[in-house]
Amino acid sequence: MTAQRLKGVIESILFVCGESVSVDSLATALDVTLIQIEQALYLLETEYAQEGRGLHLKRFANQVQIASKADYAQEVEQVLQPAQHMTLSQSALETLVIIAYRQPVTRQEIEAVRGVKCDYSIQSLMQKDLIRESGRKETLGRPILYGTTERFLSHFGLKSLEDLPVISKPDTPPEPAE
């Protein structure tokens, strides 16, 4: 058996096996020397280290096993568990805008601007990790204050909230109806 063929055969065996195989059993079954096996494994390991390969040769004790390359775990995960796509409703988007520009802000204050109840939008934005509770307002009832999250910044590619585009605000924001 040529060194090349031996390398191919070993790859074949390790692939089908899935689990680890002892170097000795490879040498015995294929009727070659341990040195030949070691040489083939060395070649295989070197090849696997290249960028264009997605496999990795695991060596431990006298055992050898093929595994996937750790560097590509993220991409593997993208295929096995693709990100769920979702869109924001117009009302959630409006609520998010108010929170982004006025944070920290209470639900009542948001509702005063939008003129409608915002419980559902707030809940939905919380679920999507775009906003979070940032404290309590020290007024009657100590209402929850909302602010944006890190994910909000990263989603829009913003370094900080100061990078939010400046929009001319309406002159007089209405007071919340409390």
Binding site: F15, V16, A67, E77, A83, Q84, T87, L93, V97, F156
Partner: protein, 243 residues
């Protein structure tokens, strides 16, 4: 010739016929000028007891072969509508032989493919599902802001006008009643045409109250074609003299 055939080892009567044709080394088209059909009838006859369901196909074929044989001994009969049974059987045999050949090739492919082993999926730890938001761009954010601002400006604007009008107390019910009757002299009017070009909420409400009062008094009639359509007003039964 002491060949013993086990019918069970054949995949139906066509398979047996093709086997006999192969043994006799003849072309399918020569089946009726050979010994094959007699062989077939003899084999089915000697096979003894077998599963009736399996046997029925073989026996039916034997009957067909006998029919074809007897026809060949008689003077030529008119060809029936179903066509020549001899020609039909030959065609069927050829078709079946064709698929048998392919099946043999496919068996080769199957064996080759079975030499390629696949593996089970790896156990791969997965993080919680991530959500990717679509259509959420800075542009959309700014648009939402603009929409919000526009709506706010509208609301505050209306309130301001309303306040001013209330102060002036321009719209009272009696005044509006007089105004409606005056306009109706020119003929039927739409409710909307009675309103000023920028009606405030109080104007609309007062005018509508006036309208109801006039209707109650029977001084005008109103109709509406459909919900949310404009109301059309015309002079009522009591006329306009009193106005």
């Amino acid at each position: 010739m002491e060949l013993v055939f086990e019918l069970k080892s054949f995949r139906g009567p066509l398979d047996l016929l093709l086997h006999l044709i192969g043994n006799a080394k003849i072309d399918i088209r020569d089946i009726f000028v050979s010994e094959v059909t007699e062989q077939y009838i003899r084999i089915v006859g000697q096979s003894g007891i077998m599963d009736l369901e399996e046997a029925s196909g073989f026996i039916q074929m034997a009957a067909t072969l006998l029919l074809i044989k007897s026809r060949s001994m008689l003077p030529v009969l008119a060809v029936s509508e179903e066509g020549d049974p001899e020609e039909q059987l030959i065609r069927q045999l050829e078709e079946y032989a064709y698929y048998q050949q392919i099946a043999a090739r496919m068996q080769g492919l199957e064996q080759a493919a079975s030499r390629m082993f696949t593996k089970l999926p790896e156990e791969f730890p997965l993080k919680p599902v991530t959500y990717e938001l679509e259509g959420l761009t800075l542009e959309n954010l700014i648009l939402a802001f603009a929409r919000l601002s526009a709506r706010q400006a509208e609301n505050t604007g209306e309130e301001a006008v309303q306040q001013a009008l209330i102060l002036m107390d321009e719209h009272t019910v009696p005044r509006c009643m007089a105004e409606i009757l005056r306009k109706l002299r020119k003929g039927s009017q739409r409710f909307s045409s009675l309103l000023s070009c920028a009606p405030t909420r109080s104007e609309v409400v007062t005018l509508f109250l006036a309208l109801l009062e006039l209707l109650k008094q029977g001084r005008l009639s109103a109709r509406q074609e459909e919900n949310s359509n404009d109301i059309i007003l015309s002079r009522g039964s009591r006329g306009l003299s009193e106005a």
